[in-house]
Point group: C2
């Protein structure tokens, strides 16, 4: 049995459910999220084999990803219960002020139905009941999921479990629906007047096309697109000298993880020209075997991007990989270029989704800073250093200026789901640099504030009434109260 | 002496100042804002006459508006000192978790130079050193002001005082600059690559044209446009019966205030068909004398909009005003239409900036709810009721669904500058429904989060270091700490 609705039916159901979802109190809404988490955890052993078959990612990775998916739902349940996301701010009336000030109370309200586009590379965590769906429901917004064509059976199975868990927990029908994975369904969804926001994780090309549709509606809606990034990692001279080989090995492990199919893959290592670092990277890359890619389309896009890259002036192949048709696997391609070559060809700063990365070699720290200055918007940027190098004070602000996350002596793959995570960044890494698609703050995307002025107690929404009936953090007359 | 720079010079100065402005500590930044407030208050008696001459608004109103302008700067100084706007969120490392969790610390960082477009109708509060400039500087972003062509001499005078106060307080040169009031300067500013965000208050037509430019840059930037709204006020049957005449008089006073040149002007009163209410409105409107409008262009747009409106089917003129060429003043135009006519012609739900408003008469509460459902995005919507009417529970959610502020027994003109104010709303009232241009939260528009991962203490920004060196509210491991 398929769970797929037409776009019209899904939007009608979401629209009808929206008031009830928005009106749910916090413990009830949190319990809905946890009911889904429990049911999905319980079904893990049934779900993982489907995911393995459809995604060619490994059992261990996918088993862990189920935990990530349910962990996201549980973090969102925590966020809902804690209640800060409501953004309660109250100012009492000052009738004797000039001009007199009325009683004013602000709260965030849900936007309404959200279209959620599933990513291909995280069949659980960024897919049908992934982070965007969890955040949408946590905000009090019905989610209409556009599944990824890469895992239709998994989408059906996950959605069945989630929807049944919601129904059993008494959640409004229509709170979580799914449309076809066809491109056209996605287009129809974005332009449907009942959709109030879009959350998207995927390619820059697809994301920007949908973002344009959202902006060109008679009534434009916010489009939260996470479009990937080159995620450069910079190595200081001291770090290269002390542990260049270890850094090279860590880098290769990170950029070949999951066949390099991460939006946080480190696509550049910017390091001093250093033979041992280079040799270690080469040897590590040569030691990585063939891996299946998610879909034929992704593989083709990857191979096309790779061959363009190999034609760029000054690119030297350190470990030559490619596609083996017999096993339908790819092996990593590691290339090196001089920093002059990268500065001359900014196309090398674009993401190439798959198991390839570029060693950018510098001999002059000034040039390394020039490259940091020339970076596009990034999800992340990293530094490997020993600490105490004077260059760090110059490099780090340039990375902060371009990235949503900056890392020290780490690798960008692996995005912890916490209160403090920011998985976002300036354009073109995302279409909304102030927002995150991972972590507690992801819920904020689907809310907007409303201020109630001079409203009698009995008409005010309950959380805004005197005495803090919901017991959530509020700011009153400018002072935070926990 | 003019303070006007070329767009290139202003952007260069702002770009050069950005790191120093961003790096300022909170008390220093707050003191800069207060230095401007003090200097502008001290110059009030010199500034008001220029404003009177250029805007034709009254001395009392403009004197009060100086206080509003400096009050905004002082509220922003408070917001800066309080520090919650930094959005500090810390999660400690969990090395034994699966996968291990690194130390993660998030903080909001300034976007960089902001282009601020001055409005015509608040020569102080929404102009050169108005709310958007205050919020931009509070966020740590240099402001490049595009002044309004309606008050060039006032813009020069205000900017001179503000810039001199900043210089005397030791603020970085280039933190606050001004370009020409020409349309072309505004266009050049929005597309300049050194500008990172735009704040605009003005007409829907102008705002949407600039928003498109911002979106079509090679590197799109956020555009925060406040584009006005029709601000309907609904009257219940009980309220009309009990105090229809008083409501009508309050309405006329609100929509004719400042010759109706407020984005919060109540452009519709949706009331039961009631002769005493209608007669009171008519008499009140006829009693309002001629008022000068801000500029010739605004007057012409107003008169054109008004004549289109008068041609709409079913519009009945209750108080006929218009332009008197001899005195160059306009008197209010009050019209009434049936609710059927409004539902048939949605153009009547568009803002007409100037001293006119529409009495929409209903006989059927169901139709009144239909109208509430059909509303476009609004800055505000109001209800006049007695309390206890069952219709309120049906009406209010419809208003919340369309508006950024909902009022009870009040008028939308007059937007208090407080922690809890939200002056925003769904499209087309604004281009960014989650943001406000008035109140403490206005600062948030010019910030984006960054997460520092695994970063040693000495490299972390000071406010993120252990022990809360700046003593501002933070969330640590999910728990708010004040």
């Amino acid at each position: 049995m398929t769970r797929v609705l037409t776009v019209d039916a899904a939007c009608a159901a979401a629209h009808a459910a929206a008031p009830a979802v928005a009106a749910s109190d916090l413990p009830t809404r949190a319990a809905w999220l946890e009911a889904m988490a429990d049911a999905l955890d319980a079904a893990r052993d049934d779900l993982v084999p489907i995911a393995v078959e459809e995604s060619r990612l490994g059992v261990d990775r996918l088993t862990g990803e189920v935990g990530r998916m349910t962990g996201q739902l549980r973090l969102m349940a925590q966020v809902v219960r804690e209640g800060s996301f409501l953004g309660l701010v109250l100012d009492q009336a000052l009738p004797d002020a000039t001009p007199p000030r009325p009683d004013l109370r602000r709260m965030n309200v849900p936007l309404g139905p959200v279209a959620v586009f599933s990513a291909s590379n995280f069949p659980f965590a960024f897919a049908t009941i992934g982070g965007d769906t969890a955040a949408s429901l946590a905000a009090g917004c019905p989610a209409v999921v556009k599944p990824n064509p890469g895992h239709p059976r998994l989408a059906d199975a996950v959605m069945a479990i989630g929807q049944d868990a919601l129904a059993a927990a008494g959640a409004p029908a229509g709170m979580l629906t799914m449309v076809s994975h066809d491109l056209q369904a996605g287009i129809d969804l974005v332009v449907d007047d009942r959709i109030e926001a879009v959350a998207f994780t995927g390619s820059q090309r697809g994301g920007l096309a949908l973002a344009r549709l959202a902006a060109e509606r008679p009534r434009p809606i916010p489009f939260f697109g996470e479009l990937g990034s080159v995620n450069p990692v910079f190595v200081t001279a001291d770090a290269a000298r002390e542990r260049g080989a270890a850094i090279a090995e860590g880098w290769v492990a990170s950029f070949t993880l999951g066949a390099g199919q991460f939006c946080t893959k480190p696509g550049l290592l910017v390091a001093p020209r250093d033979e041992s670092l280079r040799a270690a990277a080469q040897s590590a890359a040569q030691g990585v075997g063939g891996q299946g890619m998610l879909t034929e389309a992704i593989r083709e896009t990857y191979l096309r991007g790779l061959s363009e890259r190999l034609e760029s002036t000054g690119v030297e192949v350190l470990a030559g990989g490619g596609w083996d048709a017999a096993t339908d696997t790819v092996t990593p391609t590691l290339v090196s270029v001089s920093i002059d070559a990268v500065l001359a060809d900014p196309a090398l700063l674009e993401e190439c989704f798959g198991p390839t990365s570029i060693l950018v070699e510098y001999t002059d720290e000034k040039q390394m800073l020039d490259l940091a200055e020339a970076l596009p918007g990034l999800l992340s940027a990293g530094v490997h250093g020993q600490g105490g190098e004077s260059i760090i004070a110059e490099l780090l602000p340039r990375l902060v200026a371009h990235a949503g996350r900056v890392l020290w002596n780490g690798w960008p793959t692996g995005v912890a789901v916490t209160w403090s995570m920011h998985h976002g960044g300036p354009f073109p890494a995302t279409t909304a640099a102030a927002t995150t698609s991972v972590g507690a703050a992801a819920v904020n995307r689907f809310l907007r504030p409303v201020t109630w002025q001079g409203m009698p107690q009995e008409i005010l929404p309950v959380p805004l009434r005197d005495g803090n009936p919901w017991g959530v953090p509020r700011r009153v007359d400018g002072v935070l109260e926990i």
